[in-house]
Symmetry: C2
Subunit: 206 residues, 2 copies
DNA sequence: GCACCGATGTGACTTTAGTCACATTATATT
DNA sequence: AATATAATGTGACTAAAGTCACATCGGTGC
């Protein structure tokens, strides 16, 4: 868990830590990265690190978080695109098409370092990757779904919006995890995500 | 990942490692446990460890796996109990009641050390806990669901049994994760598990 | 027998994570 | 301003993880 002490830090110190972490996590696989090196780079004493974070995964998560923030921000400011249209509408328009656009958008939104960071997340040890992805889903993606559920007239009004937004936010993570376990290709898992989403969505519409 | 070299090892060596690991993981919180100590206890050189496992979480997972095997085995040999009746039928009989029985069964099935180990898993760092639980779900629980889906006449025959069994196997993990994030009580998440299961199940029945 | 080769064993060694007692700085109180 | 109290800074230190060059074993072919 990221401690409050980190957020209370003067901006330049935060920046220094995040910049050094960004570079480290973008340049090496998760296992090869080193807190020691990040701290040396950012000129932060060892002891301080553990007042800000529990461990390396916290800092990694923060970096990935910033990448996803860019994606979400982009998504919010181009409501016209399929990606901007909301995932529930995307579902109706055809999941495959949506994913295609999503992938190419990714490269437009993210700079080289962010993109490398993103890929290193995908190749991090399963436990770390899963942890990060679940966190991102529930903290960044679920809120978007919640709004969409609330404004969707087909959705029943008596449901627990937070919970179903949470479940829907896992539309990418779960099929990806399943695919990784069973050695499926990415293309195959896209359809599975559609199936999952449909299950959840059907259960809350009249 | 657990390497094949471990499984090829002579039984007594495997036993020694597992026994020492069992004791360590049952006696201390995950973060306090030490590979060094386990290896000293089991009389295994350091270098060997990394020929068998990637890291501590592998060994931890193996221990938890053995605990769940006992639970599953117990479940399989007492088809009369609600727990043995299959989770799909349990759903119809009432999820709450089922969970109650499940909890008390746990203490009957597991000895003190296993029970302590199980609790330490629940209190391990989120990334580790989640990783272990997802693995257990997809490797031990999903196969049980798969059989139940195949023999359930209400379930459509054209579905991907493996995938839906996987999704159903997460009936406990996902609500628990959601509950932990939103500070819900265990009782509250039980109902949420029911909701989730219903969503998935409805989508594959005619 | 011996020469070969892949798999496994081994523990000293390097690097990393994580701790802790004490120092310093900020904030509140009188 | 002086004092008390809480929050943060600090880096040497301990214990842990993880590596690696070399040793040993077990089988296969000749």
């Amino acid at each position: 868990m990221v401690h409050q002490t980190f957020y209370r830090l003067p901006d330049d110190k935060k920046e220094r830590i995040l910049a050094a972490a960004h570079r480290e996590f973008a340049g090496l696989t998760y296992e090869k990265t080193s807190i020691n090196r990040i701290l040396a780079e950012a000129n932060i004493p060892k002891g301080s690190f553990y007042q800000y974070f529990d461990d390396k995964s916290d800092l990694f998560y923060l970096c990935i978080y910033s990448v996803y923030e860019k994606i979400i921000a982009f998504r919010a400011c181009c409501k016209e695109s399929l990606l901007g249209a909301g995932l529930l509408r995307m579902m109706k328009l055809g999941y495959d098409k949506g994913y295609e656009i999503f992938s190419s958008d990714m490269q437009k939104i993210l700079d080289e370092e962010d993109f490398a960071l993103f890929n290193n997340m995908l190749q991090a040890p399963a436990a770390i990757r899963n942890y990060v992805q679940m966190n991102i889903a529930s903290e960044l993606i679920a809120p978007v779904f919640k709004e969409e559920l609330k404004s969707d007239p087909a959705v029943r009004k008596d449901i627990d919006y937070d919970y179903y937004a949470y479940l829907l936010s896992l539309t990418e993570v779960l099929p990806a995890d399943y695919g990784a376990r069973t050695g499926r290709t990415l293309d195959e898992t896209i359809y599975l995500g559609f199936e999952y989403m449909k299950s959840i969505y059907n259960n809350i519409t009249r």
